[in-house]
């Protein structure tokens, strides 16, 4: 009941957002705000984050904090590169999954079997991942080795042999490319919708599709299967699960290994994008994925939103730095909308007058909102282009702002991070 209402609210929110973005786009002429290119880039950049986030989700829903996602992702990239050059894309996929899963297994052994603090184990894995992969490269990729002949170096693997297929929506995003045409008309709203739709359907790599499908799949498995119920119970109250005959250790092991495999899959994705393993190509995405998961309230939908926001901001910043300025205008419009809603609430006649009497706090808030709107508007008018250094941090700042505003109703699994031992409840 409430779920449905929440879901509807989210839809309305998204619709409103698209409307505002569209208005801002028309107003400023930065078509990149909703162009299919930006959306495609956002997808490309969001997928590895989302995969790492899914890794975090699986582990933390089972009660194991996984800050070692970054290290597992690094393992994933290396193994994907190594498997990929020998056996092609499928080899990369399998090897990367196994690489990440091995990292997860290590984490599981430390945290589940030995009860080590989850953060410590994760930090250690973040040290080990780069160390081990560097070592493997130094041994297997040095000059004179077969891989070395195939183009490997100590910081990169040979290229993955073979291609992964890409897909289009027939008619709409390829061939006659109806969506593309609609997009290039730059009509209000219609073009935006077309751009967004085309962005997510044009030349989409099979791995992107796989990754995106993993989100609903995760939701299904965790919330609609017996295994998922048991897994979540390990994160909420493992002692209750234990008392009902659930093998909590096994569940946690499975969850953490899958978590590692997801992180590894994120690594595989990165390797597919660059066609080979490049040392350091994860660039802290494990951490960002973790952040996206927390941002998303330990839920697949939320983490998808978090990753999408990050990917979008990152993509837009890379594609069109000046368009980042429109965020000022965007912020101003949002503040105005907020002000409008407040004023409407004040003026609405169907409440007893004394009830509607606003407190000083409310007036302060409205004042701040008004000032903020003016200030942002002024920034938008006066700043031609921000220094590049500030453009780079758009995604990070945006994430912080959204977190600040979306007053936190986050709820993590109750036994998340708790060291569980069979037969010792507290």
């Amino acid at each position: 009941m409430t779920r449905v209402r929440k879901y509807h609210l989210a839809l309305i929110g998204v619709a409103g957002l698209i409307l505002v973005v569209s208005a801002v786009r028309v107003l400023t002429g930065f078509n990149d705000l909703t162009s299919s290119g930006t959306i495609g880039a956002a997808l490309l950049l969001a997928v590895p984050i989302a995969l790492a986030g899914l890794g975090g989700l699986w582990a933390e829903r089972a009660g194991v904090v996984n800050i070692g996602l970054e290290g597992m992702m690094v393992l994933g990239t290396w193994f994907a590169g190594w498997g990929g050059y020998q056996w092609g894309p499928v080899g990369a996929l399998v090897a990367g999954l196994i690489g990440g899963a091995l990292g997860g297994l290590l984490h599981a052994i430390a945290t589940v079997s030995f009860g080590v603090d989850h953060i410590i184990s994760g930090v250690a894995i973040n040290l080990l991942g780069p160390g081990i992969t560097r070592f493997l490269s130094e041994v297997l990729y040095k000059e004179g080795t077969p891989a070395g002949e195939a183009g490997a170096g100590i910081t990169s693997s040979p290229a993955v042999s073979g291609q992964t297929p890409e897909f289009n929506l027939p008619l709409l995003s390829a061939g006659p490319d109806l969506l593309g045409r609609l997009e290039s008309t730059h009509w209000f709203l219609l073009s935006d919708l077309a751009g967004i739709l085309r962005g997510v359907t044009h030349n989409v790599n099979v791995l992107v599709i796989l990754a995106v499908l993993l989100l609903p799949l995760t939701f299904y498995v965790l919330w609609h299967t017996a295994f998922g119920l048991r897994l979540r119970s390990a994160g909420e109250n493992p002692w209750a699960a234990e008392s009902l005959g659930v093998n909590v250790y096994r569940i946690k092991y499975v969850a953490v290994v899958i978590s590692g495999a997801f992180a590894g899959l994120g690594g595989v994705f990165l390797v597919f994008v660059s066609d080979k393993y490049v040392e350091g190509q994860t660039q802290g995405r494990g951490f960002i994925g973790l952040a996206a998961m927390i941002f998303g309230n330990w839920r697949p939908g939320g983490l998808a939103a978090g990753s999408a926001l990050f990917g979008y901001a990152n993509g837009l910043q890379l594609r069109s730095a000046p368009a980042v300025n429109t965020f000022f205008l965007f912020g101003a419009v949002l503040l105005l909308v907020y002000l409008g809603l407040q004023i409407r609430r004040l003026l609405s006649a169907d409440r007893p007058a004394e009830l509607a009497a606003p407190g000083p706090r409310q007036y302060t808030l409205m004042g701040v909102a008004a000032l903020g709107a003016v200030f942002l508007f002024w920034l938008w008018l006066t700043i031609d282009q921000l220094p590049n250094d500030f453009i780079f941090i758009t995604p990070h700042v945006l994430t912080l702002l959204v977190l600040l505003v979306a007053s936190q109703r986050l709820r993590m699994p109750k036994a998340d991070g708790v060291s569980y031992r069979r037969g010792e409840q507290h």
Partner: protein
């Protein structure tokens, strides 16, 4: 007191076993790589053949330990109360930059000059840590996310400042931008005289043994006192062990979050100073990065206690120092990272195991006393 002693002995024994295991694991890796573990072992203890090389190696080793130790302290203050300050990395970057710049804008007698630099660094680090703290207490923003984001922001902001407002003059043909150099009074005197006590030649390495080592030691003692002996430290410990109980005891969790975070950030601000005041005299865009992340490992390895952190920092520095020597012995230098990771993991596993044994012993003792039904006098 036997219980405490037992616990300590068990811990040390466990740690020793863990280190040996980590070395064993790496030996296997080295053998697989076609090297000889003995060569590797020799490389770790190979401090050079000449006297000056030896002194230099010792200086390098200790100099590396100093920032790691400070970083470990910074992280530990937060971790003690379950506050995950992942943002030490960004805090020290911003702080080092601002301190180096402010220090270069004036000239004063050395104690004042250096004092001001240290204060600025601590203040900037603390202020930068205040951001996530305020976000946490006012809006409930998870500090793990906010500090991760602020790390990225710190990189960009310092890149902007060091090339813009805070930029110094650049020599012709030089491609790194730095803040203006510190005046000589801003450089911390070295501790090379210590080598003479041990009958070694002073290190020729520029900067020698960094004098900031003394600040670090003092800081370590102060932090130990603060954490273990003061009311503030007690409140931090209580908040970390049991938040609701601390709250009920009258500890204001918001104040504690802010205080601990700012203290953590303030300490973090000092991480870059040994290098700046001891050697470089300026902050540049390729200033040593990653100390904040290593600090997490060091703090956790040292169990968030100053003495433990000191040991962990020395261990990490000792291993790091061998990077060159290992390559001379034709052994991949990445074994150092592997050993570090393996030690962190194995030491905590050993800790966990020994802890459990110690707890068993304590419970048994408690139960036996209980069985005898007689109150026992205070164990010291």
């Amino acid at each position: 007191m036997p219980a405490g002693l037992n616990r300590a002995l068990l811990t040390v024994a466990g740690a020793a076993v863990a280190v040996v295991l980590a070395i064993a694991i790496c030996s296997v890796a080295i053998v697989i790589a076609g090297g000889s573990p003995l060569d590797a072992l020799a490389a770790f203890f190979d401090f050079g053949r000449s006297e000056s090389a030896e002194s230099n190696s010792v200086a390098v080793f200790l100099n590396r330990a100093v920032p790691l130790f400070i970083a470990g302290l910074a992280v530990a203050v937060g971790f003690r109360m379950n506050l995950f300050n992942i943002g030490v990395e960004g805090q020290y970057r911003v702080a080092a930059l601002c301190a180096a710049y402010v220090g270069s804008t004036f000239t004063a007698p050395a104690p004042i000059q250096i004092g001001v630099i240290i204060l600025v660094a601590a203040a900037v680090g603390g202020l930068y840590a205040l951001i996530p703290a305020v976000m946490k207490v006012t809006r409930g923003v998870n500090e793990v996310i906010s500090t991760i984001m602020l790390n990225y922001i710190a990189i960009a902001v310092s890149a902007y400042l060091v090339r813009g407002p805070f930029a110094g003059e650049r020599a012709q043909g030089q491609l790194t931008t730095t803040t203006p150099p510190l005046p000589p009074s801003g450089m911390f005197p070295d501790l090379n005289f210590v080598f003479e006590w041990f009958g070694m030649v002073a290190p020729t390495r520029n900067g020698g043994l960094w004098g900031f080592l003394i600040v670090a030691v003092v800081l370590g003692v102060v932090i130990w006192l603060v954490l273990e002996r003061t009311r503030f430290g007690f409140n931090i410990k209580a908040s970390g062990l049991n938040g609701p109980a601390a709250l009920a005891s009258g500890v204001n969790p918001k104040t504690m979050v802010i205080a601990a975070m700012v203290l953590s950030g303030g300490i973090a601000g000092l991480i870059g100073l040994p290098e700046i005041l001891g050697d470089r005299g300026a902050f540049g865009s390729n200033f040593t990065a990653g100390l904040g992340f290593l600090g997490i490992a060091v703090a956790l390895l040292g169990r968030n206690k100053p003495l433990g952190i000191a040991v962990a920092a020395l261990l990490f520095a000792f291993l790091d120092r061998a990077q060159g020597a290992l390559q001379f012995a034709d052994i991949p230098a990445s074994v150092v990272t592997i050993i570090q990771g393996a030690i962190v993991l194995l030491v905590v596993v050993a800790n966990e195991v020994t802890n459990r044994i110690a707890l068993r012993l304590e419970e048994r003792r408690a139960a036996q006393q209980l069985g005898r039904n007689t109150p026992v006098e205070v164990a010291a």
